[in-house]
């Protein structure tokens, strides 16, 4: 039975790699600066569409953390994102007009690039509105973390998605290019997350936060998943199965301790709830390129009319990673 299951997972992994190869044919390389990747560089992989406004801060944030090179897939932006990225010295750019949905919401493209360029590197796979926070991130750059993970024989690092939102209607304060999004969206839910284990892949399935509280209060099973494993010491045999929520082989999903201890973990601050989202939600509704027939976006569109404010009396104001550690949203593990 166990052998059968393992073989089943192996097939799934192979299939994911095959899909990645096939969908990868849709990618055309616009700017290839991968020759400048150093042997020890931390690489960042991302898929985006019309994110020109957010890009400057995004790139600066991760450069400051010590990311060595950005590998970006541009899925048909019309707002000059591609041109902006092309002008950056540490970005390699691919573009495609193919369907985001058919590439399993970008995962196939990511797998393709990860397999080609990520082998042997620490690879961070994030969206443009996700900002990694990890223990000591204010004093130790990413290579310190990855070096420690290497020394501890850890191959993957979990970082839960933490939805950040402003107080008041989300478009009340417009986001300006280059601005720290968490100056506006600085609130989050501190302790309303539900966790269950996925028996097949071995990962945890985390739901909750403001989206569950406001948009899915009567259908919690449909609330979006918040568990993420964005940072992996990549090997060409690895594959993301569903977004960055889980990977194969399944051992990579064991970013949690089952015997009472705490493993080190971080958080992905999610700056989705900002003014650009309003227009985006409308567009996504017509494009229908998102998960489960864009159910999420349909719910947002319905509820946005009535519940434009995600803030509540018990929202926490974000200060730093230590606060998240104390709240129990992330942990230092035995990194001290």
């Amino acid at each position: 039975m166990r052998v059968m299951r393992q073989y089943g997972l192996r097939l799934r992994r192979k299939r994911a790699l095959l899909r990645a190869w096939r969908r990868g044919l849709d990618l055309s390389c616009r700017i290839d600066r991968t020759g400048s990747i150093g042997r020890r560089d931390v690489l960042l992989f991302s898929v985006l569409r019309n994110e020109r406004l957010r890009l400057p801060f995004f790139l600066d944030y991760y450069r400051a953390l010590g990311v060595g090179h950005f590998l970006v897939v541009d899925n048909g932006s019309e707002d000059g994102s591609a041109e902006y990225l092309g002008a950056q010295p540490d970005v390699s750019l691919w573009s495609t007009a193919a369907s985001y949905k058919r590439a399993r919401y970008g995962a196939d493209w990511m797998n393709r690039l990860l397999r080609r360029f990520g082998h042997g590197h620490w690879c961070l796979t994030v969206d443009v509105d996700e900002f990694l926070v990890y223990p000591f991130c204010d004093t130790r750059p990413l290579p310190a973390l990855t070096g420690w993970l290497d020394a501890s024989s850890i191959r993957s690092f979990g970082a839960m998605l933490l939805d950040m939102y402003p107080k008041g209607p989300i478009d009340a304060v417009p986001y300006v290019e280059g601005q720290d999004p968490f100056e506006i969206a600085c609130w989050f839910d501190g302790g309303n997350y539900t966790i269950r284990k996925n028996p097949l892949y071995g990962n945890l399935w985390i739901q909750g936060g403001p989206r569950a509280r406001v948009f899915f209060a009567d259908a919690p099973a449909h609330a979006p998943a918040l568990n993420k494993i964005p940072l992996v010491r990549w090997d060409r045999r690895f594959a993301y199965v569903s977004s960055t929520h889980m990977l194969l082989p399944r051992g990579l999903n064991l970013v949690y301790d089952e015997w009472g201890g705490e493993k080190a973990s971080g958080a992905l601050l999610h700056a989705k709830w900002l003014s650009p989202f309003v227009a985006k939600a409308e567009e996504e509704l017509t494009r229908r390129q998102h998960y489960a027939a864009s159910r999420e976006y349909r719910v947002y569109a319905e509820r946005m009319e009535t519940a434009r404010d995600l803030w509540c009396d018990w929202s926490e104001r974000y200060i730093n990673w230590r606060q998240l550690e104390i709240l129990g949203l992330m942990s230092k593990g035995n990194w001290a």
């Binding site: 750059p141 070096g147 501890s152 966790i195 509280r213 493993k263 129990g328 593990g333 035995n334 001290a336």
Partner: protein, 566 residues
Amino acid sequence: MSSLGFIMLCHAALHRAEAVARHWAQAGCPVVIHVDARVPQARFRAMQAGLADLAHVRFCRRFRCEWGTFSLVRAMQTASEEMLCLFPKVRHVYTASGACLPLRPVEELRAWLDARPRTDFIESVTTEDVPWTVGGLSDERFTLRFPFSFTRQRRLFDRWVALQRRMGLQRRMPLGLVPHLGSQWWCLTRQTLSAILEDPNRPRHDRFFAQVWIPDESYFQTLARRWSTDIESRSLTLSKFDFQGKPHLFYDDHLQLLRRSDCFVARKIWPEADKLYAHFLRPGAEARPMAEPNPGRIDRLFGKAVERRTRGRPGLYMQSRFPNDGWENGRTAGSYSVFEGFSELFEDFEAWLARTAGLRVHGHLFAPERVEFAGGAGVFNGALSDSAALRDYSPEGFLANLIWNTRGERQCFQFGPGDGQRVAGFFAGDPNAQVSVISGAWAVELFRRNARFGEIRREAARLQRIETAHLALLRAPWVKARVRVWSLADFVAAPMEPLLTLMDEISPRAPNRPAEAPRMVDLAGFGRFLQNLRNQGMQPTLTGDFPVTEDPDGTNRPRSRPYLVR
């Protein structure tokens, strides 16, 4: 020239090792550097060239060093011999690695050692007394043979160990040696070190230790015991290991901690820790008064890290801590009280409890329509929602979250057979829970309900069935909660005593005992009501006995407000 010499073993981050060597050499201390033969020649030459201007920095013959093998001892021996031979004034020889960093000016270390001219500082403990090794091998480091590489030939290594164990193969220690282990970062006197190196039996010892596992942690530690006249069993180098046995790294943010530790040398330093290197290697650091090394704070910091990694925070469920059943180390984060039947029997129980105990008291948290948070709040600590659907998605998680979010403040809530029952199994197995049940109290609520009797009868049967199952659960052998059960009749007969017991447990330091009692529901006619249920074929078994007829004079009738016994 100084009476203190340093031996450095380097294999990576040579530029940092170079800076440290320069620091020591400029303070007048001779330095002999061993660079791993696996380091490319070009980088070695660059380091040599960088230190060429310093007369008493020497490079010794290079060996290929592999962790866990004798090659490291060989390197130390060669470097020591060179040190003793080339620098006759040296009295103490200090071993350091390329990732070491001096925390105090060399002057202080030298003065400190000058005050202890005959003492050898080498951590050296017997294998029998100290379980200091991680991963099993302690005695067997000496009694087995290790021809295979741990890092490259792991499988062969493990199999070979297992085979020797099974066959009972044992080696004998060379005569006169008692196995000792300890940190390889020692500081020995010329006398002891030369006695070890010039021992006529050295070839025999070397042969023996060449087959010992991790000999750099035992060679000098064992032999020093034989020759030294004054051993102080500790390392002067601050070095901490985590629960996997790998050294903790120090980063820029440890600067203050390291400064206040008063240790002489620390390892391992992260090679990119610019601030640490800049601070501790800055020229002209003032010598401060003699202080004993005091790594206590650092010990605590790293001790906490190990504790967090192995035990975790009780009651926390999160992305990187999701314990299996029974491994929670505390199912919830703090104590809480579950009251069953109290708010049915007393008219103002929640308000009374809140007033008396000074706490926020919830209604039925697991009520079917919505979560009845204290004060009717729609959202509670940690942004917990009052949506019943969200709560029922994971009732156990909901309760664990609530207790975690309100750490330091005891939670009290009502529970009963009308509520979702799934969570009961969770709190019954939780030693933090104090569960107090007045069995059959749901009947009081039915007694006062304005509804058809047939409906009431059906509801009574349903609630009784649920509560019977619930009470059976609370009596299960695995239950860890503090459970108390009274039947309604018993409780009504003497309500104050159990209430006071509970209050004592909830707030033991409360300044005064409750000034007032909660007001009990008027139970006139309740016995008749129960009899009616019986007459309709529904036997209330959980309420206890209530007389059917009221006493005309009212002597046996429960008082509507129990008095207090002071």
